[in-house]
Chain length 309, copies 2
C-alpha cells in the first residue's frame, strides 16, 4: 500500500500500536558521504506507551476549555503544525511565535524555538500548563485522566499502576511523538543508493543547496533542528514579535534572536510557518539566484516530503 | 484484532478508504422482534469519495482562522462530539446549543437539533459558512481547496474533474460521515441472536427501558434521532438558551422547543452533551426509579458503545 498522505502514515503508525505488534525496524544506511543523512523509521519498543501517547495527543480534555489538544497546533493532517502566523490558545489568545512541526521533532537538539526544553518529554508538559495555550494545570490534567476509567486501564497497562502522574503523561506523549518521523522520501532513497530516485534537476538543486551555503545550517537527518542560529545573519532583523529566542533561556544578551534552525523536511507543508519567522532570510538568499536555480532548489524540497513515491 | 477505542475504529475505517478496497459488507439481521434494531456496518461504494471526505473533515483550512475543522466540534476521539455545553467557534464564540454527535448521524431523520438540514450533505455546508462557527464562505473554501494541488488530484479522482465546487465538498464530507457508524456492540450481538451477549442485569435494564417509556422516543437502530419531541414533556422547560428548536424551521409557535431526540448510542461518551439539553428530563425520569433500577439501565447503556467486546 502506498502511503500518499500524512493521515495515512499516521494511521499506519497508530495501527501498529493498537494491534500491539512492534513495527519491524530496518535501519536505512546512507551509501553517500553527504552532510544530510536518511531519516530512520520509528523504533517502537513499547507499543502500549505509544498507543496511550496517541490518545493523549489527540485529547482536548488536557486543556482548560476541553477544546484544544496537542494536535490543534501540531496538526498531523497539516504537516505537524497549524500553519498559522502564531498559534491560537485558550480564549483565542495569540502566542508570541509560530508552532514548530512535531514531525521528526525527536531529531531536534532541544525543543521549542528557544530550546527551553531538553527533550520531547520536557516539552510535552509546557503547553498544557501555559495560560496562553491550553491554560490547564498538571494537577487538573492528571485529575481529569484519573477520572476516566478508559484511561486508568491504559495507564495500568503501560506503567503497571493506575495512579497517574504528570511524568507518565509526558512520557507517553513523547513516546508517541517519537514515532512521528517521515522516512522513505525520494531524497532518502537517493541517499540509500537509488541513483534514479532524484531527477537531474533535483540533483542540481541539491548541489546548489550545498554550494550556496544552505547546508551550513540545514544539515543532518532533519536538514535543520540541530543548532541555534542568529536571526539577522544576513541583514539586521527587525521584529515586533515578543519572542526573543535563546536569551530567554540563557539570560545572555548575545543570545537574543538566536533561534533553533527549522527542519526543511516536509517544508512544503510547513512553509507558511517558516516564512513567518524568516521571510527576509529566504528572500535575501533567494534573490541572489537566478529563477532557474530557485526552481532547482524548490524541486529538491519536493523530494523531502512525507509521502514515499 | 480487537478495536478497543474510537480512534482505532476510525483508523480501520480510514485505512479501508486509503487502500482503495471497499469494506466487506455483512448485513446484521435481528432475530428478535424489538423496537430497537442493530446498527448496520458502513457500506462503502466509493472509497475515493470517502477518503476525500476524511481529508476535508479533518482540515482546519475550511475555516476562516485555519484553526477549526469539522472534527473540532465533532471530535472522533470524543464520541463524535466535543462534550461541551455549547461549541466553540471562530474567535472563541459560543454557539446557542451543543454539538450533536456525528456518529450514526446518517440514521437521523434530519440534521441539526432543529432538523433544518434534510441530510448530511446539506448539513456539511452549514458550519463552514456560519459566522459563529467556522466563519468562512463557500466561495473562499472552494478557492482554498482549488489552490492546493493535493486536493485537485483527489477531487479529479473522485469526480473526474479538478474544477471544485461546494457540492462536491459536501458530497465528500457526507460520504465520509456515512461511514461513521458503530455496529457490533454487545447489544447488537444480542439482537442478532447471541443470548449470552447481555448479562441478566443488562437485560433487566433493557426491560425497564421499555416498560418505563424511554423506548417511546429512543427507538430504532440509533435509539433516537428519528423523531422530534417537545422539551417540557414531563414538566415546564425553562431556559435562557437561544435555541428555539423546530419552530425556527417551521415558523410555527407550536414547534417551539421541539428538538430532535438524541441517539442513546455511545451515550457514555456524549452524556455531557445530552445532559446539557435535558437534565430535568433525565432527573424526572430517573428519580422515580429505585437506585438498583437505574443501575440496570446504566448497565444497559454500557452495552451500546463503540467498542465491540
Amino acid at each position: 500500500m502506498k502511503l500518499k498522505t500524512l493521515s495515512a502514515a499516521l494511521l499506519a503508525t497508530a495501527a501498529v500500536s493498537v494491534s500491539g505488534v512492534s513495527m519491524a525496524y530496518d535501519e536505512i544506511i546512507s551509501v553517500r558521504n553527504e552532510p544530510v543523512q536518511p531519516i530512520q523509521p520509528a523504533k517502537v519498543d513499547d507499543p502500549q506507551l505509544v498507543k496511550l501517547g496517541a490518545m493523549l495527543f489527540f485529547d482536548p480534555r488536557l486543556s482548560k476549555s476541553g477544546f484544544i489538544s496537542c494536535n490543534s497546533c501540531h496538526n498531523l493532517s497539516r504537516g505537524g503544525s497549524d500553519n498559522l502566523k502564531t498559534s491560537i490558545g485558550d480564549k483565542w489568545q495569540e502566542g508570541p511565535i509560530n508552532s514548530p512541526t512535531v514531525l521528526n521533532s525527536s531529531l531536534n537538539v532541544a525543543q521549542f524555538w528557544d530550546g527551553r526544553a531538553a527533550d520531547l518529554k520536557e516539552q510535552a508538559g509546557g503547553p498544557i500548563a501555559n495560560p496562553g495555550e491550553m491554560a490547564f494545570t498538571h494537577e487538573l490534567a492528571v485529575e481529569m485522566l484519573q477520572s476516566v476509567p478508559g484511561y486508568t486501564v491504559e495507564f495500568r497497562k503501560a506503567f503497571g499502576t493506575d495512579k497517574i502522574d504528570i511524568d507518565m503523561v509526558t512520557d507517553a506523549i513523547a513516546a508517541f511523538e517519537e514515532t512521528l518521523v517521515t522516512p522513505h522520501s525520494k531524497f532518502d532513497k537517493w541517499l540509500a543508493g537509488d541513483d534514479d530516485a532524484l531527477t537531474p534537476t533535483e540533483l542540481r538543486g541539491y548541489e546548489l543547496f550545498k554550494t550556496s551555503g544552505c547546508v551550513a545550517c540545514h544539515n543532518g537527518a532533519a536538514l535543520g533542528g540541530n543548532s541555534f542560529q542568529k536571526m539577522g545573519l544576513v541583514e539586521p532583523y527587525h521584529t515586533t514579535a515578543e519572542a526573543e529566542g535563546r536569551s530567554a533561556v540563557t539570560g545572555k544578551d548575545a543570545d537574543r534572536f538566536n533561534f533553533k534552525v527549522p527542519t526543511l523536511r516536509n517544508v512544503e507543508m510547513t512553509i507558511r510557518t517558516s516564512t513567518t519567522v524568516a521571510p527576509r532570510h529566504w528572500l535575501k538568499l533567494l534573490t541572489s539566484w537566478a529563477a532557474c536555480s530557485w526552481a532547482s532548489v524548490s524541486r529538491l524540497t519536493r523530494t523531502l516530503p512525507l509521502w514515499p513515491s
